[in-house]
Symmetry: C2
Subunit: 250 residues, 2 copies
Amino acid sequence: MNEQDFLAAYDPRDYPAVAVTVDVVALTIREGALHLLLIRRAAPPYAGHWALPGGFVRPDEDLAAGARRELAEETGLGGERLRRVHLEQLATYGGPDRDPRMRVVSIAHLAFAPDLPDPVADTDADDAIWLPVTALTSRQLAFDHGRIIDDGLERARSKLEYTPLATRFLAPEFTITELRAVYETVWGHPLHAGNFHRKVLSVPGFVESTGDSTERGGARGGPRAKLYRAGDARLLHPALLRPAREETVR
Amino acid sequence: MNEQDFLAAYDPRDYPAVAVTVDVVALTIREGALHLLLIRRAAPPYAGHWALPGGFVRPDEDLAAGARRELAEETGLGGERLRRVHLEQLATYGGPDRDPRMRVVSIAHLAFAPDLPDPVADTDADDAIWLPVTALTSRQLAFDHGRIIDDGLERARSKLEYTPLATRFLAPEFTITELRAVYETVWGHPLHAGNFHRKVLSVPGFVESTGDSTERGGARGGPRAKLYRAGDARLLHPALLRPAREETVR
DNA sequence: CTAGGTTGTTCTCAGATTGAGTTGTTCTCA
DNA sequence: TGAGAACAACTCAATCTGAGAACAACCTAG
Protein backbone atom coordinates (compact mmCIF):
# COMPACT_ATOMS: atom_id res chain seq x y z
CA MET A 1 0.00 0.00 0.00
CA ASN A 2 1.39 3.40 -0.84
CA GLU A 3 0.75 6.88 0.34
CA GLN A 4 -2.16 7.82 -1.78
CA ASP A 5 -3.99 4.57 -1.46
CA PHE A 6 -3.42 4.71 2.17
CA LEU A 7 -4.72 8.20 2.54
CA ALA A 8 -7.73 7.59 0.39
CA ALA A 9 -8.80 4.77 2.66
CA TYR A 10 -7.46 6.34 5.80
CA ASP A 11 -9.39 6.71 8.95
CA PRO A 12 -7.17 7.85 11.80
CA ARG A 13 -9.07 5.70 14.20
CA ASP A 14 -8.23 2.55 12.28
CA TYR A 15 -4.52 2.99 12.38
CA PRO A 16 -1.90 2.77 15.11
CA ALA A 17 -1.12 6.30 16.17
CA VAL A 18 2.27 7.85 15.59
CA ALA A 19 3.39 10.76 17.71
CA VAL A 20 5.48 13.41 15.99
CA THR A 21 7.81 15.41 18.18
CA VAL A 22 10.69 17.80 17.79
CA ASP A 23 13.85 17.65 19.88
CA VAL A 24 16.55 20.29 20.03
CA VAL A 25 20.29 19.87 20.42
CA ALA A 26 21.05 23.41 21.57
CA LEU A 27 24.70 24.35 21.78
CA THR A 28 26.33 27.39 23.27
CA ILE A 29 29.75 28.37 24.53
CA ARG A 30 30.16 29.35 28.17
CA GLU A 31 33.46 30.08 29.81
CA GLY A 32 35.36 28.66 26.88
CA ALA A 33 33.59 25.31 26.91
CA LEU A 34 30.90 23.89 24.65
CA HIS A 35 27.62 23.45 26.52
CA LEU A 36 24.44 21.61 25.71
CA LEU A 37 20.92 22.31 26.93
CA LEU A 38 19.42 19.38 28.84
CA ILE A 39 16.36 18.90 30.99
CA ARG A 40 15.77 16.30 33.66
CA ARG A 41 12.65 14.30 33.11
CA ALA A 42 10.07 14.45 35.84
CA ALA A 43 7.89 11.54 34.72
CA PRO A 44 8.49 8.01 33.50
CA PRO A 45 9.74 6.57 31.32
CA TYR A 46 13.30 7.60 32.10
CA ALA A 47 12.19 9.73 35.05
CA GLY A 48 15.23 11.42 36.53
CA HIS A 49 17.24 10.92 33.37
CA TRP A 50 18.53 13.80 31.33
CA ALA A 51 16.95 14.43 27.96
CA LEU A 52 16.90 16.90 25.13
CA PRO A 53 14.30 19.63 25.28
CA GLY A 54 11.50 18.81 22.92
CA GLY A 55 7.85 18.15 22.59
CA PHE A 56 4.90 17.47 20.47
CA VAL A 57 4.43 19.33 17.20
CA ARG A 58 1.25 21.36 17.26
CA PRO A 59 -1.31 20.83 14.54
CA ASP A 60 -0.87 24.24 12.97
CA GLU A 61 2.86 24.70 13.27
CA ASP A 62 5.82 24.04 11.06
CA LEU A 63 8.52 21.66 12.30
CA ALA A 64 11.08 24.45 12.60
CA ALA A 65 8.58 26.64 14.40
CA GLY A 66 7.91 23.83 16.84
CA ALA A 67 11.59 23.44 17.56
CA ARG A 68 11.99 27.16 18.08
CA ARG A 69 9.01 27.23 20.41
CA GLU A 70 10.39 24.37 22.48
CA LEU A 71 13.71 26.12 22.70
CA ALA A 72 12.02 29.33 23.79
CA GLU A 73 9.98 27.56 26.44
CA GLU A 74 13.03 25.86 27.85
CA THR A 75 15.34 28.83 27.85
CA GLY A 76 12.77 31.43 28.77
CA LEU A 77 14.05 33.31 25.78
CA GLY A 78 12.19 35.46 23.34
CA GLY A 79 12.34 38.31 20.90
CA GLU A 80 15.62 39.43 19.47
CA ARG A 81 17.74 37.06 21.53
CA LEU A 82 15.82 34.06 20.26
CA ARG A 83 15.88 35.34 16.71
CA ARG A 84 19.64 35.36 16.69
CA VAL A 85 19.78 31.65 17.46
CA HIS A 86 20.59 29.57 14.43
CA LEU A 87 18.24 26.62 14.08
CA GLU A 88 18.41 23.89 11.47
CA GLN A 89 17.03 20.44 11.04
CA LEU A 90 19.44 17.73 12.12
CA ALA A 91 17.85 14.37 11.37
CA THR A 92 14.76 12.35 12.10
CA TYR A 93 14.74 9.43 14.49
CA GLY A 94 11.87 7.06 14.15
CA GLY A 95 12.78 3.49 15.03
CA PRO A 96 9.75 1.49 16.12
CA ASP A 97 11.05 0.91 19.65
CA ARG A 98 12.64 4.19 20.63
CA ASP A 99 9.84 4.98 23.05
CA PRO A 100 8.36 2.15 25.13
CA ARG A 101 4.87 3.60 25.09
CA MET A 102 4.12 4.11 21.44
CA ARG A 103 5.70 4.94 18.16
CA VAL A 104 7.33 8.34 18.33
CA VAL A 105 8.98 9.94 15.32
CA SER A 106 11.17 12.80 16.39
CA ILE A 107 12.59 15.44 14.12
CA ALA A 108 15.80 16.54 15.83
CA HIS A 109 17.06 20.07 15.34
CA LEU A 110 20.41 21.68 15.95
CA ALA A 111 20.72 25.14 17.48
CA PHE A 112 23.71 27.45 17.83
CA ALA A 113 23.23 30.14 20.44
CA PRO A 114 25.32 32.98 21.84
CA ASP A 115 25.87 32.85 25.57
CA LEU A 116 22.39 32.74 27.11
CA PRO A 117 21.05 33.00 30.64
CA ASP A 118 20.55 29.88 32.70
CA PRO A 119 17.48 27.98 31.60
CA VAL A 120 14.36 27.82 33.74
CA ALA A 121 12.92 24.38 34.38
CA ASP A 122 9.57 24.11 32.68
CA THR A 123 6.56 22.51 34.34
CA ASP A 124 7.36 19.21 32.73
CA ALA A 125 10.96 18.96 33.94
CA ASP A 126 12.68 18.73 37.29
CA ASP A 127 15.59 20.74 36.13
CA ALA A 128 17.14 22.39 33.10
CA ILE A 129 20.81 23.21 32.66
CA TRP A 130 23.55 24.08 30.25
CA LEU A 131 25.85 21.08 30.65
CA PRO A 132 29.43 21.02 29.35
CA VAL A 133 29.58 18.38 26.66
CA THR A 134 32.68 16.95 28.30
CA ALA A 135 30.47 15.96 31.25
CA LEU A 136 28.11 13.97 29.04
CA THR A 137 29.72 10.56 29.30
CA SER A 138 28.72 10.04 32.90
CA ARG A 139 25.10 11.04 32.38
CA GLN A 140 22.21 8.70 31.87
CA LEU A 141 20.39 9.95 28.85
CA ALA A 142 16.78 9.17 28.02
CA PHE A 143 15.70 7.33 24.87
CA ASP A 144 18.21 7.53 22.01
CA HIS A 145 19.19 11.06 22.94
CA GLY A 146 22.83 10.08 23.36
CA ARG A 147 23.01 9.19 19.73
CA ILE A 148 21.14 12.31 18.67
CA ILE A 149 23.63 14.41 20.61
CA ASP A 150 26.56 12.62 18.99
CA ASP A 151 25.08 13.30 15.58
CA GLY A 152 24.47 16.93 16.51
CA LEU A 153 28.01 17.47 17.72
CA GLU A 154 29.49 15.95 14.62
CA ARG A 155 27.21 18.09 12.47
CA ALA A 156 28.23 21.18 14.39
CA ARG A 157 31.91 20.43 13.90
CA SER A 158 31.45 19.96 10.22
CA LYS A 159 29.18 23.00 9.79
CA LEU A 160 31.94 25.24 11.08
CA GLU A 161 34.09 24.10 8.20
CA TYR A 162 31.97 25.23 5.33
CA THR A 163 29.50 27.76 6.75
CA PRO A 164 29.98 31.00 8.68
CA LEU A 165 27.78 29.73 11.51
CA ALA A 166 30.55 29.98 14.10
CA THR A 167 29.55 33.64 14.31
CA ARG A 168 26.20 32.54 15.75
CA PHE A 169 27.92 31.58 18.97
CA LEU A 170 29.06 35.17 19.41
CA ALA A 171 27.63 38.62 19.98
CA PRO A 172 26.83 40.65 16.83
CA GLU A 173 30.29 42.23 17.00
CA PHE A 174 33.29 40.09 17.75
CA THR A 175 37.03 39.86 17.34
CA ILE A 176 38.90 37.36 15.23
CA THR A 177 40.33 35.88 18.41
CA GLU A 178 36.84 35.27 19.78
CA LEU A 179 35.90 33.63 16.51
CA ARG A 180 38.97 31.43 16.70
CA ALA A 181 38.04 30.45 20.24
CA VAL A 182 34.70 29.17 18.91
CA TYR A 183 36.47 26.94 16.42
CA GLU A 184 38.90 25.73 19.03
CA THR A 185 36.22 24.79 21.54
CA VAL A 186 33.93 23.12 19.02
CA TRP A 187 36.74 21.25 17.28
CA GLY A 188 38.55 20.58 20.51
CA HIS A 189 42.06 21.59 19.55
CA PRO A 190 44.11 24.76 19.20
CA LEU A 191 44.56 26.55 15.89
CA HIS A 192 47.41 28.66 14.66
CA ALA A 193 46.38 32.24 15.38
CA GLY A 194 48.19 33.87 12.48
CA ASN A 195 47.01 31.42 9.86
CA PHE A 196 43.44 31.51 11.17
CA HIS A 197 43.47 35.27 10.95
CA ARG A 198 44.74 35.27 7.40
CA LYS A 199 42.25 32.65 6.33
CA VAL A 200 39.17 34.23 7.86
CA LEU A 201 39.88 37.58 6.28
CA SER A 202 40.57 36.01 2.89
CA VAL A 203 37.26 34.15 2.62
CA PRO A 204 34.78 36.43 0.84
CA GLY A 205 31.76 37.34 2.92
CA PHE A 206 32.77 35.55 6.10
CA VAL A 207 33.28 38.65 8.23
CA GLU A 208 33.25 42.38 7.58
CA SER A 209 35.02 45.03 9.55
CA THR A 210 33.00 47.43 11.69
CA GLY A 211 35.88 49.90 11.71
CA ASP A 212 35.88 49.87 15.50
CA SER A 213 38.11 48.20 18.04
CA THR A 214 37.50 46.82 21.50
CA GLU A 215 37.52 49.34 24.34
CA ARG A 216 40.32 47.60 26.14
CA GLY A 217 43.03 45.11 25.31
CA GLY A 218 42.91 41.53 26.53
CA ALA A 219 42.65 40.79 30.26
CA ARG A 220 46.33 40.04 30.49
CA GLY A 221 47.56 42.63 28.06
CA GLY A 222 47.84 43.00 24.34
CA PRO A 223 46.52 45.62 21.95
CA ARG A 224 42.88 46.40 21.29
CA ALA A 225 41.42 44.01 18.76
CA LYS A 226 39.53 45.08 15.67
CA LEU A 227 35.84 44.31 15.66
CA TYR A 228 33.98 42.44 12.93
CA ARG A 229 30.45 41.36 12.25
CA ALA A 230 29.16 38.41 10.23
CA GLY A 231 29.30 38.92 6.48
CA ASP A 232 26.60 37.91 4.03
CA ALA A 233 28.07 34.64 2.79
CA ARG A 234 25.95 31.56 3.44
CA LEU A 235 28.77 29.21 2.53
CA LEU A 236 32.52 29.50 3.00
CA HIS A 237 34.48 29.37 -0.26
CA PRO A 238 37.06 28.11 0.20
CA ALA A 239 36.20 26.20 3.36
CA LEU A 240 38.11 26.29 6.62
CA LEU A 241 39.08 22.67 6.83
CA ARG A 242 39.91 21.17 10.19
CA PRO A 243 43.02 19.03 10.29
CA ALA A 244 42.17 15.37 9.64
CA ARG A 245 41.22 14.13 13.08
CA GLU A 246 42.31 10.56 12.62
CA GLU A 247 45.11 9.64 10.32
CA THR A 248 43.44 7.31 7.85
CA VAL A 249 46.44 5.06 7.61
CA ARG A 250 46.40 3.16 4.41
CA MET B 1 2.72 21.01 26.81
CA ASN B 2 5.78 18.92 26.24
CA GLU B 3 6.43 15.42 25.06
CA GLN B 4 6.10 13.54 28.27
CA ASP B 5 3.06 15.37 29.52
CA PHE B 6 1.52 14.89 26.20
CA LEU B 7 2.19 11.21 26.09
CA ALA B 8 1.06 10.64 29.62
CA ALA B 9 -2.31 12.13 28.80
CA TYR B 10 -2.37 10.88 25.26
CA ASP B 11 -5.25 9.07 23.72
CA PRO B 12 -4.78 8.72 19.98
CA ARG B 13 -8.47 9.22 19.46
CA ASP B 14 -8.38 12.65 21.04
CA TYR B 15 -5.76 14.08 18.80
CA PRO B 16 -5.61 15.09 15.16
CA ALA B 17 -3.89 12.31 13.31
CA VAL B 18 -0.54 12.77 11.64
CA ALA B 19 0.51 10.51 8.81
CA VAL B 20 4.19 9.61 8.61
CA THR B 21 5.52 8.72 5.19
CA VAL B 22 8.86 8.22 3.52
CA ASP B 23 9.73 9.59 0.10
CA VAL B 24 12.75 8.70 -1.96
CA VAL B 25 14.81 10.89 -4.28
CA ALA B 26 16.47 8.07 -6.21
CA LEU B 27 19.24 9.09 -8.58
CA THR B 28 21.03 7.08 -11.19
CA ILE B 29 23.09 7.76 -14.27
CA ARG B 30 21.84 6.52 -17.62
CA GLU B 31 23.48 7.28 -20.92
CA GLY B 32 25.62 9.95 -19.36
CA ALA B 33 22.76 11.88 -17.81
CA LEU B 34 21.50 12.11 -14.26
CA HIS B 35 18.10 10.52 -13.90
CA LEU B 36 15.51 10.61 -11.17
CA LEU B 37 12.86 8.04 -10.34
CA LEU B 38 9.33 9.42 -10.56
CA ILE B 39 5.88 7.93 -10.54
CA ARG B 40 2.70 9.37 -11.98
CA ARG B 41 -0.07 9.61 -9.46
CA ALA B 42 -3.22 7.73 -10.31
CA ALA B 43 -5.52 9.27 -7.72
CA PRO B 44 -6.23 12.76 -6.46
CA PRO B 45 -4.91 14.99 -5.16
CA TYR B 46 -2.47 15.76 -7.91
CA ALA B 47 -3.76 12.92 -10.05
CA GLY B 48 -1.71 12.75 -13.23
CA HIS B 49 1.12 14.72 -11.68
CA TRP B 50 4.55 13.30 -11.19
CA ALA B 51 5.68 12.52 -7.68
CA LEU B 52 8.47 10.89 -5.75
CA PRO B 53 8.04 7.25 -4.89
CA GLY B 54 7.05 6.92 -1.28
CA GLY B 55 4.49 5.70 1.11
CA PHE B 56 3.36 5.13 4.60
CA VAL B 57 5.80 3.87 7.18
CA ARG B 58 4.70 0.54 8.56
CA PRO B 59 4.23 0.15 12.29
CA ASP B 60 7.11 -2.26 12.76
CA GLU B 61 9.65 -0.82 10.38
CA ASP B 62 12.50 1.62 10.66
CA LEU B 63 12.41 4.78 8.56
CA ALA B 64 15.37 3.67 6.43
CA ALA B 65 13.81 0.25 5.98
CA GLY B 66 10.60 1.87 4.82
CA ALA B 67 12.43 3.95 2.27
CA ARG B 68 14.30 0.90 1.00
CA ARG B 69 11.07 -1.04 0.74
CA GLU B 70 9.39 1.73 -1.23
CA LEU B 71 12.36 1.89 -3.55
CA ALA B 72 12.27 -1.88 -4.02
CA GLU B 73 8.55 -1.86 -4.77
CA GLU B 74 8.94 0.87 -7.32
CA THR B 75 11.97 -0.48 -9.10
CA GLY B 76 11.06 -4.14 -8.84
CA LEU B 77 14.52 -4.57 -7.44
CA GLY B 78 15.72 -6.93 -4.77
CA GLY B 79 18.62 -8.84 -3.33
CA GLU B 80 22.16 -7.88 -4.18
CA ARG B 81 21.20 -5.15 -6.65
CA LEU B 82 19.13 -3.37 -4.03
CA ARG B 83 21.77 -3.82 -1.38
CA ARG B 84 24.29 -1.93 -3.46
CA VAL B 85 22.07 1.15 -3.55
CA HIS B 86 23.23 3.84 -1.16
CA LEU B 87 20.38 5.21 0.91
CA GLU B 88 20.55 8.04 3.40
CA GLN B 89 18.13 10.33 5.10
CA LEU B 90 17.75 13.67 3.33
CA ALA B 91 15.43 15.84 5.39
CA THR B 92 11.95 15.85 6.83
CA TYR B 93 9.14 17.90 5.37
CA GLY B 94 6.22 18.53 7.64
CA GLY B 95 4.56 21.86 7.01
CA PRO B 96 0.93 21.85 8.13
CA ASP B 97 -0.43 22.37 4.63
CA ARG B 98 1.72 20.24 2.42
CA ASP B 99 -1.08 17.78 1.83
CA PRO B 100 -4.63 19.08 1.42
CA ARG B 101 -6.22 16.12 3.16
CA MET B 102 -4.42 15.91 6.45
CA ARG B 103 -1.14 16.55 8.14
CA VAL B 104 1.56 14.45 6.52
CA VAL B 105 5.12 14.43 7.79
CA SER B 106 7.43 12.94 5.24
CA ILE B 107 10.96 11.80 5.85
CA ALA B 108 12.68 12.21 2.51
CA HIS B 109 15.58 9.93 1.62
CA LEU B 110 18.27 10.17 -1.00
CA ALA B 111 19.39 7.13 -2.99
CA PHE B 112 22.35 6.64 -5.32
CA ALA B 113 21.94 3.67 -7.62
CA PRO B 114 23.99 2.09 -10.39
CA ASP B 115 22.21 1.85 -13.71
CA LEU B 116 19.01 -0.08 -13.01
CA PRO B 117 16.31 -1.60 -15.20
CA ASP B 118 13.24 0.44 -16.09
CA PRO B 119 10.86 0.70 -13.17
CA VAL B 120 7.54 -1.12 -13.16
CA ALA B 121 4.52 0.96 -12.31
CA ASP B 122 3.10 -0.22 -9.04
CA THR B 123 -0.63 -0.65 -8.46
CA ASP B 124 -0.85 2.83 -7.04
CA ALA B 125 0.72 4.66 -9.97
CA ASP B 126 -0.12 5.14 -13.62
CA ASP B 127 3.47 5.09 -14.63
CA ALA B 128 7.00 5.01 -13.29
CA ILE B 129 10.07 6.23 -15.09
CA TRP B 130 13.66 7.29 -14.80
CA LEU B 131 13.45 10.93 -15.88
CA PRO B 132 16.50 13.00 -16.81
CA VAL B 133 16.74 15.78 -14.25
CA THR B 134 17.18 18.27 -17.07
CA ALA B 135 13.59 17.50 -18.08
CA LEU B 136 12.25 18.37 -14.64
CA THR B 137 11.47 22.04 -15.17
CA SER B 138 8.56 21.37 -17.45
CA ARG B 139 6.93 18.80 -15.21
CA GLN B 140 4.12 19.40 -12.79
CA LEU B 141 5.22 17.91 -9.54
CA ALA B 142 2.88 16.89 -6.75
CA PHE B 143 2.99 18.43 -3.27
CA ASP B 144 6.32 20.01 -2.35
CA HIS B 145 8.24 17.36 -4.24
CA GLY B 146 9.92 19.95 -6.44
CA ARG B 147 11.61 21.41 -3.42
CA ILE B 148 12.53 18.00 -2.05
CA ILE B 149 14.17 17.16 -5.37
CA ASP B 150 16.10 20.42 -5.37
CA ASP B 151 17.35 19.68 -1.88
CA GLY B 152 18.26 16.15 -2.91
CA LEU B 153 20.21 17.27 -5.95
CA GLU B 154 22.14 19.84 -3.98
CA ARG B 155 22.89 17.25 -1.32
CA ALA B 156 24.07 14.80 -3.97
CA ARG B 157 26.40 17.38 -5.48
CA SER B 158 27.90 18.18 -2.16
CA LYS B 159 28.17 14.54 -1.06
CA LEU B 160 30.42 13.82 -4.02
CA GLU B 161 32.86 16.36 -2.67
CA TYR B 162 33.62 14.82 0.65
CA THR B 163 32.47 11.19 0.44
CA PRO B 164 33.37 8.36 -1.94
CA LEU B 165 29.70 7.83 -2.81
CA ALA B 166 30.23 8.59 -6.48
CA THR B 167 31.28 4.95 -6.72
CA ARG B 168 27.72 3.95 -5.84
CA PHE B 169 26.58 5.08 -9.26
CA LEU B 170 28.92 2.56 -10.87
CA ALA B 171 29.38 -1.19 -11.11
CA PRO B 172 31.62 -2.76 -8.44
CA GLU B 173 34.61 -2.40 -10.75
CA PHE B 174 35.10 0.79 -12.69
CA THR B 175 37.69 2.95 -14.40
CA ILE B 176 38.83 6.37 -13.32
CA THR B 177 37.27 7.79 -16.44
CA GLU B 178 33.89 6.32 -15.50
CA LEU B 179 34.26 7.80 -12.05
CA ARG B 180 35.08 11.17 -13.54
CA ALA B 181 32.00 10.92 -15.74
CA VAL B 182 29.89 10.56 -12.59
CA TYR B 183 31.31 13.76 -11.17
CA GLU B 184 30.88 15.59 -14.44
CA THR B 185 27.30 14.46 -14.75
CA VAL B 186 26.25 15.29 -11.21
CA TRP B 187 28.14 18.56 -11.05
CA GLY B 188 27.18 19.50 -14.58
CA HIS B 189 30.53 20.59 -15.93
CA PRO B 190 33.68 18.99 -17.31
CA LEU B 191 36.73 18.27 -15.18
CA HIS B 192 40.37 18.16 -16.12
CA ALA B 193 41.09 14.47 -16.76
CA GLY B 194 44.71 14.48 -15.68
CA ASN B 195 44.17 16.38 -12.46
CA PHE B 196 41.14 14.28 -11.55
CA HIS B 197 43.16 11.13 -12.05
CA ARG B 198 45.99 12.37 -9.85
CA LYS B 199 43.62 13.54 -7.16
CA VAL B 200 41.52 10.39 -6.94
CA LEU B 201 44.57 8.18 -6.61
CA SER B 202 46.10 10.44 -3.98
CA VAL B 203 43.13 10.41 -1.59
CA PRO B 204 43.62 7.53 0.85
CA GLY B 205 40.93 4.85 0.70
CA PHE B 206 38.94 6.35 -2.15
CA VAL B 207 39.66 3.62 -4.70
CA GLU B 208 41.88 0.57 -4.76
CA SER B 209 43.28 -1.13 -7.82
CA THR B 210 41.96 -4.52 -8.84
CA GLY B 211 45.09 -5.18 -10.90
CA ASP B 212 42.95 -5.81 -13.97
CA SER B 213 42.16 -3.71 -16.99
CA THR B 214 39.12 -3.40 -19.20
CA GLU B 215 38.73 -6.01 -21.93
CA ARG B 216 38.68 -3.44 -24.65
CA GLY B 217 39.72 0.14 -25.13
CA GLY B 218 37.21 2.98 -25.34
CA ALA B 219 34.48 2.87 -27.97
CA ARG B 220 36.38 5.31 -30.13
CA GLY B 221 39.84 4.08 -29.38
CA GLY B 222 42.37 4.49 -26.66
CA PRO B 223 44.17 2.02 -24.45
CA ARG B 224 42.55 -0.37 -22.00
CA ALA B 225 41.87 1.38 -18.72
CA LYS B 226 42.88 0.06 -15.33
CA LEU B 227 40.05 -1.14 -13.11
CA TYR B 228 39.42 -0.02 -9.56
CA ARG B 229 36.92 -0.77 -6.85
CA ALA B 230 35.71 1.40 -3.99
CA GLY B 231 38.15 1.68 -1.09
CA ASP B 232 37.20 1.59 2.56
CA ALA B 233 37.21 5.32 3.30
CA ARG B 234 33.88 6.74 4.45
CA LEU B 235 35.06 10.31 4.04
CA LEU B 236 37.43 11.89 1.53
CA HIS B 237 40.47 13.54 3.11
CA PRO B 238 41.27 15.85 1.52
CA ALA B 239 37.98 16.47 -0.27
CA LEU B 240 37.49 16.81 -4.01
CA LEU B 241 36.19 20.33 -4.11
CA ARG B 242 34.12 21.46 -7.03
CA PRO B 243 35.03 24.82 -8.50
CA ALA B 244 32.93 27.60 -6.91
CA ARG B 245 29.82 27.62 -9.05
CA GLU B 246 28.97 31.27 -8.63
CA GLU B 247 31.62 33.86 -8.09
CA THR B 248 30.69 35.41 -4.77
CA VAL B 249 31.59 38.89 -5.89
CA ARG B 250 32.28 41.06 -2.95
C1' DC C 1 55.72 55.17 36.37
C1' DT C 2 58.15 51.51 34.47
C1' DA C 3 59.45 46.71 33.38
C1' DG C 4 58.02 42.40 31.86
C1' DG C 5 54.83 39.53 29.94
C1' DT C 6 50.69 38.95 26.80
C1' DT C 7 48.20 39.48 22.72
C1' DG C 8 46.46 41.11 18.02
C1' DT C 9 48.15 41.55 13.65
C1' DT C 10 51.23 41.23 9.88
C1' DC C 11 55.04 39.13 7.54
C1' DT C 12 58.24 35.45 5.81
C1' DC C 13 59.32 31.25 3.79
C1' DA C 14 59.45 26.46 2.68
C1' DG C 15 56.52 22.66 1.40
C1' DA C 16 52.28 20.94 -0.50
C1' DT C 17 48.43 21.35 -3.60
C1' DT C 18 46.15 22.97 -7.70
C1' DG C 19 45.17 24.27 -12.55
C1' DA C 20 46.52 23.89 -17.08
C1' DG C 21 48.92 21.98 -20.55
C1' DT C 22 52.08 18.33 -22.79
C1' DT C 23 53.86 13.79 -23.90
C1' DG C 24 53.86 9.01 -25.00
C1' DT C 25 51.54 5.02 -25.74
C1' DT C 26 47.68 1.91 -26.77
C1' DC C 27 43.75 1.15 -28.84
C1' DT C 28 39.40 1.44 -32.31
C1' DC C 29 37.50 2.55 -36.52
C1' DA C 30 37.50 3.48 -41.30
C1' DT D 1 47.49 1.02 -42.30
C1' DG D 2 46.59 5.76 -40.90
C1' DA D 3 43.90 9.02 -38.17
C1' DG D 4 41.87 10.13 -34.23
C1' DA D 5 40.75 9.08 -29.34
C1' DA D 6 41.66 8.21 -24.75
C1' DC D 7 44.45 6.52 -20.64
C1' DA D 8 48.15 7.62 -17.84
C1' DA D 9 52.06 10.05 -16.56
C1' DC D 10 54.65 14.12 -16.35
C1' DT D 11 55.88 19.29 -16.08
C1' DC D 12 55.58 23.80 -14.33
C1' DA D 13 53.86 28.02 -12.62
C1' DA D 14 50.49 29.94 -9.42
C1' DT D 15 48.32 29.46 -5.23
C1' DC D 16 47.53 27.85 -0.66
C1' DT D 17 49.08 26.04 3.79
C1' DG D 18 51.66 25.30 8.11
C1' DA D 19 54.99 26.96 11.08
C1' DG D 20 57.40 30.41 12.98
C1' DA D 21 59.03 35.33 13.79
C1' DA D 22 58.42 40.24 14.25
C1' DC D 23 56.48 44.07 16.27
C1' DA D 24 53.67 47.30 18.38
C1' DA D 25 49.87 48.01 21.71
C1' DC D 26 48.35 46.96 25.90
C1' DC D 27 47.83 45.02 30.76
C1' DT D 28 49.40 44.18 35.51
C1' DA D 29 52.79 43.95 39.10
C1' DG D 30 55.87 46.23 41.68
